[in-house]
Assembly symmetry: C2
Homo-oligomer: 482 residues x 2
């Protein structure tokens, strides 16, 4: 809840239009819809009830799928001794610059610095080395939900903060094939949750060596397009091969009685997904939440609530919808006008609003407003609880379709640097690339766009590199990115 | 899973009997049942899948009740600036000695030290001060699930570790009455979960001033009795009055238009509850888990699995029980004997074992073993899925009854220090107390027992203090404690 005093001073406070200043629009929306607030700690955020409820829904969707595919949750310590972090050279190089260090415990100065985990590969590796014996112990497929800390210079809530919430899965396998299969299975779970639950189309594919995770053999990502045409990396799945196993000595006794290194994967998505939802679907009125993860799917707003029978009918309908399994709220605040409430719940992105006034009670009907299209329709009260689930599914599908249609208009096949430069100004460029890092660097320097990923369907759109003009056989996306 | 190689070397590894060395029994059980492992970080624990699954069940039970009573989840930053921590004097005095400090972020030495949260009153207060405006904003009832860090000198998994998982609720209210009501409501939720879900009887009551939380006006606790007769504080609920509101300036505009301080509560339970379950119910064979929170409620063990029809029947029964909503596992490991598996699942405390062999398949029956009483009975396979839910409830009730009966024999009314000294050697003493801290200190010094709490039913059992002999009107429990 915002301060009541402020609320009375006339809502809806102004939201900067998207086309005037997209970044400011984002900030206005997340603060005014009370998803998040700034914390009195540099670069950290407070996730408020409404924001956290979205995270709980996302978590449920993912956790269920992880468990269905044989993963188990664990909890690893948040502090990692420096010596343990240092064992895999590439990994430490990638993360050391952004580690927060604990150097004192109580009044005692520590002998060894402890890192607040930026990610937990190292500690999972240490434990796997202890736990794994023979091939019969494999695979081990563990996940944890926790917070991690990366000391970022410039931060924005949900998109880049010093502390954020995420899940990190870490698995070990007997063979490279199984590890690759796991890496792909998780990428597909991520894609499915993004598309089916968040109504957010994503491009899945493999990262270039430049953009892969520190210590990985291969990184795969899903990339979403925000409404400003920039890319947001929304989830990653890594195949480490035996890189970490060699550094941390994770060996198992094979069926043939030989010692062998395990093959490892790791993968994660974070509260960043909330930022992605906002920038994929939101509009001038504020948030627009996909019904599958909306904490409130339908809000009932009484009109002329003081008139006889209105509140009683609202309460009755509330009970009906709740019984029908809909996440419903009755807005019975008695100091606010219906108009104020309409704006408030549109700002908060609730997919459906049900308005009930005295005449509706008389006529046995209500007005149903859908947030995605702004359409209103009269619905008989006796039919409401039967029609709402279908309406919510329709909204879910429509939101995906809108985002997908938007994205289609902003992806351009390019063959020259000129075309690429124009394409990444508000969209993604699809191009052929020779595979050289020098070309990636040059494109970044000239256009501020980075390579996003290489789709699995590598049907070529040409045979020369968009940058150097040499022979090229890699199809890849470039975009400016969050 | 333990290392397969170790497992083959002959299970069940020896568990120290409880009456030989209770502490060693505890350590044997938590490690061998694979709830937990030691981490390569001083005083921290790794919660393994089986241990974490218990925590997830406990969390579900609590979270549901919190939400039903109008609480909302949030997430606050894990780092707290030193200056913010220092605002409430009593609080900081209580926690400063055990704070882990972050002093470096990346390569930068921080201007101000940041505490890894030992608890989050201070940051909740800072945000509440920002969020609350008028009486209409109240109450705010927030909770978070997170990890906290307390730099402990001597640690034991689940009971006392440098890092542990918990929930911490923080609420603000317009009046002292409402805050007190909230404090009691939560204490009752804790008691209900302990008794109904963990099958663990608890004594609820008010802490002495000596034992209350740093900064609280009043602390209430639930105290459970472990099988060695020692007390374990299993949950606390605090009423802060306006202590923190004054230190952090959390004021609201009352209905009458006056500025007033809010009344605040906080409350928490932690992964310590897992330790409490182990020490309340476990026996020489290992864990004994109450069905309501057991990750696996029934395990199916095939006997002579290679014989025709056995595995097929087991798989069929598995599907039936799963469909009946029972958390069931089919142990189809093909390198282990049934005897080994029996021991393994008894060690892991699974409430019910279903044995199915070739003759059972022929006769259309199975053998059902209950972990609480070691009783076996033959059950027709056609009746199994209908009878198991009732059996699980019976086990749940019986486990509570056993723990309650044990506790009854170990609580003694005492009137002299001699009686008290004998009573706390393996049990709780109930005594009259004058209310002076000097007497608490003396009792602690002489017997190592501390005051636990003062029950709400204060019917006196005498009128003089068990320690000083002066007039006394407080009924209180003393015990040695974890």
């Amino acid at each position: 809840m915002a301060k009541d005093t402020e609320k009375k001073q006339g809502f809806v406070e102004h939201i900067t239009p998207r086309d005037v200043d997209f970044a400011q629009w984002y900030t206005d929306v997340i603060l005014k819809s009370e998803l998040v607030d700034y914390a009195p700690v540099r670069g950290c955020m407070v996730i408020r009830p409404y924001g956290f409820a979205i995270w709980e829904r996302i978590k449920e969707q993912l956790d269920r799928r992880f468990k269905e595919t044989g993963h188990e949750n664990v909890y690893m310590p948040m502090l990692i001794p420096e010596s343990l972090l240092l064992k895999e050279a590439e990994h430490v190089e990638g993360f050391a610059p952004e580690v927060a260090w604990v150097t004192q415990g109580g009044s005692e100065k520590l002998q060894e610095r402890l890192a607040v985990r930026p990610t937990s590969e190292t500690i999972f590796c240490a434990m796997y080395a202890k736990w794994v014996g023979s091939w019969r112990d494999l695979p081990m497929k563990y996940n944890q939900w926790c917070s991690v800390m990366r000391w970022e210079k410039s931060t924005r809530p949900f998109l880049r903060t010093s502390e954020f919430l995420w899940q990190e899965g870490h698995t070990i396998h007997a063979t490279g094939e199984e590890a690759q299969e796991e890496t792909m299975r998780i990428l597909d779970i991520y894609r499915e949750v993004a598309e089916d639950e968040l109504a957010m189309p994503v491009l899945v594919g493999r990262k270039s060596d430049k953009e892969k995770f520190a210590g990985a053999r291969a990184t795969y990502s899903m990339e979403a397009m925000m409404q400003d045409g920039k890319a947001l990396q929304a989830g990653t799945s890594h195949n480490f091969g035996t890189n970490f196993a060699e550094a941390y000595n994770i060996q198992y006794l094979s069926k043939e009685g030989k010692l062998a290194y395990v093959h490892e994967t790791s993968w994660g998505v974070s509260t960043r997904l909330i930022g992605a939802i906002i920038m994929t679907h939101g509009d001038e009125r504020g948030l627009k939440l996909p019904p599958h993860i909306a904490p409130i799917q339908a809000v009932i707003v009484p009109v002329a609530a003081h008139k006889g029978g209105v509140m009683e009918k609202c309460a009755e309908i509330y009970a009906q919808l709740k019984a029908a399994g809909i996440r419903v709220k009755l807005d019975d605040r008695d100091t606010l006008s219906p108009g104020f409430k309409f704006n408030d719940w549109e700002l908060k992105g609730v997919p459906v609003r049900v308005e009930i006034g005295p005449r509706d009670v008389e006529n046995g009907q209500c007005v149903v407003f859908r947030r995605d299209t702004y359409e209103k329709q009269a619905v008989a009260l006796t039919e409401l609880s039967a029609m709402l689930p279908g309406l919510l599914e329709d909204i879910q599908r429509n939101m995906y379709a809108l985002a997908d249609a938007f994205r289609k208009t902003r992806i351009t096949d390019v063959h020259t640097m000129d075309e690429l430069t124009r394409a990444v100004d508000g969209g993604f460029a699809r191009a052929m690339w020779c595979g050289d890092r020098a070309c990636e660097d040059k494109i970044k320097e000239l256009t501020a766009a980075s390579s996003r990923n290489m789709p699995f369907d590598q049907t070529p759109i040409g045979d020369t590199c968009v940058c150097c003009g040499k022979k090229a056989d890699k199809l890849i996306y470039f975009a400016r990115a969050y």
